[in-house]
Structure formats: structure tokens, C-alpha cells
């Protein structure tokens, strides 16, 4: 996995709450058997005026000029500023894949849905929870200042504005450790293979019905 230590980038504001993963990447694009190539279809139904199809050349499609990511000032954004309960709904990891493929590295919101939040960390994407009033302030500053950028430091757990104002955020130690070092967490878990085998042996005695049922 790609490591994440620090990042500075242009901020794009997504000013609506309860953005669901169907909205982030609609179902027709879930038919792919790959992990890449979802970027052009990120927020497809908001971004384009027509119905998107898999494997289509999106450069010829009619775009929705009102949608935030279609505005020139946000086209190179890599920090997404969002509202409460971002990423709710379906567990599709295609949502973080699409955000990543578009070029986002950081998502800031007052709250995230659990499964989406977890999926981000598996893909080198950092979701940051900041208090509602701080997010409100960042929305204001982003909209008022073209080219507004934020700096994120995962080691220090801070988000810093262009004026030097800094906000701390919380993140679980194990998630932070994996992301800072770009660790393959399957490899980390397999270091405990003996413990897993011991657990299984005990369970075969206490709950034999859990093994080879129906096979």
C-alpha cells in the first residue's frame, strides 16, 4: 500500500450531508474486476448530465457546470471537504478507489460512515474527522479563496490552513502506523499465524459444528 505521511493540496468543497457510496460511484461501474480506472466516473450522476456507462469515453459527455469538481478552480483538488456521515450506505471499496483514482488523498468531514472510513485506510487515503464548527470555517475559507490549500501531517496529526492556523485530529494508532509505513496488513496479521492456529484448535474442541459444516 502507498504510504501517507504528509500532504498539501487544493481543497474542493462538497457541501451536502449523507453523501452515500452509490453517489460516489454508481453501481454500473462496479462491474469492473479491476481496482483502477474509476476516477472518470467519480460522482458520475452529479458530474455529468447523461447516464454513464462502463468503459465509455467520458471526455465527450455533457457535464454539469454547477457541480463543484467541474469548476476550474477545483479541478486539481486533492483534499475533499465534506459534510456529516460521508460515505454512508454500501460497503463498496470502489468508492475510495474512485476518490483515489481522481486524485484525492485526504477527505475532511465532521463524521464518516464506519465501513467507508475503514476502507480508506486500506488504500492510502486519509479520512480526517474535525469538529463541525472547524469544518464550517474551512468551507467558508475554501469558498472565499481561490486556490485554497490545506497541509496535512499524519505524524503530527494536524491540518494547517494557509494562514498558519492548525487543527489537531484523532486517528487510531494502528491505522496511523499502517498508513505512515504503507504496511500490507495481511502480512502483519500472518505474523500471528500460530496464534490463529491455536485459536482454531481450541474452537474445534468447543464448537466443532463450525468446521466442515455441509461439506
Amino acid at each position: 500500500m502507498r504510504a501517507f505521511t504528509q500532504h498539501q493540496g487544493v481543497v474542493a468543497p462538497m457541501d451536502r450531508s449523507n453523501v452515500d457510496t452509490d453517489m460516489i460511484i454508481p453501481k454500473q461501474f462496479l462491474k469492473s474486476i479491476k481496482r483502477t480506472g474509476f476516477g472518470p466516473n467519480l460522482f458520475d450522476e452529479l458530474r455529468y448530465m447523461d447516464e454513464g456507462k462502463p468503459d465509455q469515453d467520458c471526455s465527450q459527455r455533457p457535464i454539469n457546470p454547477d457541480f463543484v469538481l467541474n469548476q476550474d478552480r477545483y479541478k486539481n483538488a486533492s483534499v475533499l471537504l465534506a459534510r456529516a456521515n460521508f460515505g454512508c450506505g454500501s460497503s463498496r471499496e470502489h468508492a475510495p478507489w474512485a476518490l483515489d483514482d481522481f486524485g484525492f488523498r485526504v477527505i475532511i468531514a465532521p463524521s464518516f460512515a464506519d465501513i467507508f472510513y475503514n476502507n480508506c485506510f486500506k488504500n492510502g487515503l486519509l479520512p480526517i474527522v474535525l469538529p463541525e464548527e472547524v469544518v464550517d470555517q474551512l468551507f467558508r475559507e475554501t469558498e472565499e479563496n481561490e486556490g485554497y490549500q490545506l497541509s496535512v501531517d499524519l505524524e503530527a496529526k494536524t491540518v494547517t490552513t494557509p494562514s498558519g492556523e492548525s487543527f489537531s485530529f484523532e486517528v487510531d494508532d494502528f491505522r496511523r502506523h499502517c498508513l505512515l509505513n504503507g504496511l500490507d496488513d495481511i502480512g502483519v496479521t500472518l505474523e500471528d499465524a500460530d496464534l490463529i492456529k491455536d485459536y482454531e484448535e481450541k474452537r474445534k474442541q468447543t464448537a466443532p459444528w463450525l468446521f466442515n459444516a455441509g461439506h
Binding site: 447516464e51 456521515n85 450506505g89 471499496e93 460512515a113 465501513i115 496479521t189 463450525l210 459444516a213 455441509g214
Partner: protein, 472 residues
């Protein structure tokens, strides 16, 4: 020391290792696989040269992409080549790695969350995962069950474990008795309406109280299924006689002495009387009316006697903006009566409501009536090949067809419209599925979430109506 909640017990029983950093390795007893969220996981295994840790813990079936007509054609019946490739890829992966799969023409094929319980592959006390957020369904059996992303599907295939952090405990207690005509679906929609679509975020929810205890397993599954729509990955119901009776005799269930031993353990799967919850929410079950969603989030729901809200009455500006946006998308007016919403299609199916009891409830309403001529389509999609066979044995298919509903083959179908079953732009659908998000059932489609009985009532009237007015 306070007693343990059901979730505490399930967590402790699956704890392989508690790490110093607050994370834990949790053992997974059962993984369900389908074609949409598994191909990248299998590819990951292949690239790393890894093998599945334990083959017998996995069961696979294609469900999201499968057509609901011409099942006898098998994979050849999938017209969309991209969908076909995904189903073929699941077949290839399962064959290559040696994983049990109910393929498209197998009568045991169906929606993953229907076939697990149907086969007894979902057993009380198990930890169950699937690359699908509605895995919470299996919590109805007193399981620790939740959806995961594809990276975690690969992690479970390779290690039989997940890295987790323990969630908080929430009890949702539904007191009293439900009125006739009010179902598990209405209960869960009312709960989501009360606590909101993020109300359960960070919690494992246990559903309890007299109303829940009085429900069948299939109704409990509908409730746990939609825990995720309240933000909770995990929803559970304690084990009781209803649970054990449902499991008994199913193909994967234990038999003989092992059965007795299992039942002894299963009977411990309830929260202790002195268990402490981080949050308790109570509802009066007897006050719940049949529910209908009006907006684009499952929390945007009201009783069938109610009206569409007026955004002017909402004080919170973000919520107000949300209501305005939802009404615009849904093509509804403030204060419009729910019963005045005219429908274009009716969909009865999905992992929430496609089991035999759901079909019986719907059939009882449409029996002797006709689908309203104002509708373009009303369809019934059973949750599995075995549900379909059971319904046909009971003659439910004839009741539906006689009334003018289409009787289809099993799959996820119009719940998320990955196959050919979808809404047209601007069409209103009474749907027994779980999500009313923008575009969920088709580009520009407008979803109203309801119970199977309410969907059936809508099918024969062309608009929403309190199903109890049609019941004898």
C-alpha cells in the same frame, strides 16, 4: 462488575489477540462471497502468492448481476458482457481456489443474505462477513455479522481474521405488541426515522423488547438487514426458541449430539440482565404504523397516514437544504399526502424482503385483485431458487401472475439495478428494498421504501394506501 451484552460475548468468543494499540484480531467463522466485491480480492491473493486460510469457511454465489429471466440459459442469459465477465470471474476464482459456490443454475443460488440462513450456513454465535453492507442481516441469529470492503475480503481469505476495534453497545428496545399489518420492515424504518441514518455509527445495535421477541426469524432478518441504514455495521437479536427452531434440520446445521452441544451454547447468546449499554433507545411498537419513505435517505420516512415534510418548518439549515434537494429529486411537494403519491412500478424482492414469509404477505394482499392499470410494471423477485420453489409449491406464483405481477428468477435485481431490472428517469417505485438513494434503482429513479404488504397494496391501487384497509 456489570454483565456482558450479546455483542461483548460474541467479541470475546472470537478474540484471537488483543493488541497494545487498541486493535484486535477477530476470528471469522464464515465468509460469504459474491461476484461484485470479490474479484480484486482473489487477484490480490494471486499476486501475493497466497492461498485461502480455510476453504470450508467460505460460500459463494452470484447475485448482484444475474438476470431475473431465462435462468435456464445460465451464464449465456446475461446479455451485458461486463456483467457476464464478472459472474464468470467468480466461477473461475471459486473453481481455482476450491471454494464452494452455488452457481447461477444451481437451485441453491440466491442473494447471499438469503442463502446463508436458508442453508444453515448462518448459525447462532458465528462471526460472519461479506463484501456487502447488508451482512448485518445474519445478526438476527445472534451472530457478529457485518459488511467489509474488498481489501478485508482478501484479508479474511488469507488469514481467517479481521483487524477490528471494538464498537460501542446500543440497545434498541421495541416495547409492546405490533398492530396487525405492521411488519419487521415497518419497525426498522421507524427506528431509522427516529435515530437517523448516522444514529448507529460506531455502535453494534442489539434489537430487543417484546415486539422483537414476538417476531419471526425472517422479520428479525429484515430488521437487522437495515441496521446499516441507521449507520450501524452490526445489528443483532438474542437467540431464543424461535432462532433454534428455524435453524434445526437445515443442510449445514449440526446434527445429533453436536446439535445438542451447539444448542447449549446458543442458549447463552443473550445480553445478561445486568449488562450495560452505552446507549438505549426505546420505541412503542404498538404506535408504529406502516411506513413509507418520501426522500433520498432512509431516515426520510413517515407513517402512511402522514405527509411529505415542509422544509420551511425545519430549523437546521443543512437538514432544510437536504429536504429541499430530496423533494426536488423526488418530484414531491411540501405537505403532499403520502397516499397521494402516484406510482409507476412496484418491486418486491431484495435481501431485506424476498423470503417466503415476505412473499406470503404480499400474495395475501393481491389475491383476487388486479395490478392497477396505471402501473408500468409490478415484479416479484424471490430471494433464492429454493424460496422460488417453495412459493410455487404453495401456489403463490399463480396468485401473483393472476393479479398481473411478474414472477421472476432470484437475485438482487432492482434493489440496485446492476442487472437489467431498473427504473426509468423520474419513475416512482414502491420498493421492498433497503435504499432510496438518488439513482439507486436506476438513473433518475425515485424509490419509496415499504414492506412487502404495503408494496402489494400499492400494486393493486397504483398509489400508497394503508394496507390494513385492504385486509379482512
Amino acid at each position: 462488575m456489570a454483565g456482558k451484552t450479546l455483542y461483548d460475548k460474541l467479541w470475546d468468543d472470537h478474540l484471537v489477540k488483543q493488541r497494545d494499540d487498541g486493535s484486535a484480531l477477530i476470528y471469522i467463522d464464515r465468509q460469504l462471497l459474491h461476484e461484485v466485491t470479490s474479484p480484486q480480492a482473489f487477484e490480490g491473493l494471486r499476486l501475493a502468492g497466497r492461498k485461502p486460510w480455510r476453504l470450508d469457511a467460505n460460500i459463494a454465489t452470484p447475485d448482484h448481476n444475474v438476470p431475473t429471466t431465462d435462468r435456464d440459459k445460465g451464464i449465456e442469459g446475461i446479455v451485458d458482457p461486463v456483467s457476464r465477465t464478472q459472474v464468470e470471474t467468480l466461477d473461475k476464482n471459486c473453481d481455482e481456489f476450491g471454494i464452494l459456490e452455488f452457481k447461477i443454475k444451481d437451485q441453491r443460488q440466491g442473494i447471499v443474505h438469503v442463502i446463508g440462513p436458508e442453508q444453515g450456513a448462518t448459525l447462532p454465535g458465528m462471526s460472519i462477513v461479506c463484501g456487502d453492507s447488508h451482512t448485518s442481516t445474519h445478526g438476527a441469529f445472534g451472530c457478529l455479522a457485518h459488511g467489509i470492503g474488498t481489501s478485508e475480503v482478501e484479508h479474511v481469505l488469507a488469514t481467517q481474521c479481521l483487524v477490528q476495534k471494538k464498537m460501542k453497545n446500543m440497545l434498541v428496545k421495541v416495547n409492546g405488541k405490533l398492530a396487525p399489518g405492521v411488519t419487521g420492515k415497518d419497525v426498522v424504518l421507524a427506528i431509522i426515522g427516529k435515530i437517523g441514518t448516522a444514529g448507529g455509527t460506531g455502535y453494534a445495535i442489539e434489537f430487543g423488547g417484546e415486539a422483537i421477541r414476538g417476531l419471526s426469524m425472517e422479520a428479525r432478518m429484515s430488521i437487522c438487514n437495515m441496521s446499516i441504514e441507521a449507520g450501524a455495521r452490526v445489528g443483532m437479536v438474542a437467540v431464543d426458541d424461535t432462532t433454534i427452531d428455524y435453524v434445526k434440520g437445515r443442510p449445514f446445521a449440526p446434527k445429533g449430539e453436536t446439535w445438542d452441544k451447539a444448542v447449549d451454547y446458543w442458549r447463552t447468546l443473550h445480553s445478561d440482565d445486568d449488562a450495560e449499554f452505552d446507549k438505549v433507545v426505546e420505541l412503542d411498537g404498538s404506535a408504529i404504523n406502516p411506513q413509507v419513505s418520501w426522500g433520498t435517505s432512509p431516515e426520510m420516512v413517515t407513517g402512511v397516514e402522514g405527509s411529505v415534510p415542509d422544509p420551511e418548518q425545519e430549523a437546521d439549515p443543512i437538514k432544510r437544504e437536504g429536504i429541499v434537494r430530496a423533494l426536488k429529486y423526488m418530484g414531491l411537494k411540501p405537505n403532499q399526502k403520502i397516499t397521494d403519491i402516484q406510482l409507476d412500478r412496484v418491486f418486491i424482492g431484495s435481501c431485506t424482503n424476498s423470503r417466503i414469509e415476505d412473499l406470503r404477505e404480499a400474495a395475501a394482499v393481491v389475491k383476487g385483485r388486479k395490478v392497477s392499470p396505471s402501473l408500468k410494471q409490478a415484479m416479484v423477485v424471490p430471494g433464492s431458487g429454493l424460496v422460488k420453489a417453495q412459493a410455487e409449491q404453495e401456489g403463490l406464483d399463480k396468485i401473483f401472475i393472476e393479479a398481473g405481477l411478474e414472477w421472476r428468477d432470484p437475485g438482487c435485481s432492482m434493489c440496485l439495478a446492476m442487472n437489467a431490472d431498473k427504473l426509468g428517469q423520474g419513475e416512482h417505485c414502491a420498493s421492498t428494498s433497503n435504499r432510496n438513494f438518488e439513482g439507486r434503482q436506476g438513473f433518475g429513479g425515485r424509490t419509496h421504501l415499504v414492506s412487502p404488504a404495503m408494496a402489494a397494496a400499492a400494486a393493486v391501487t397504483g398509489h400508497f394506501v394503508d394496507v390494513r384497509e385492504l385486509m379482512n
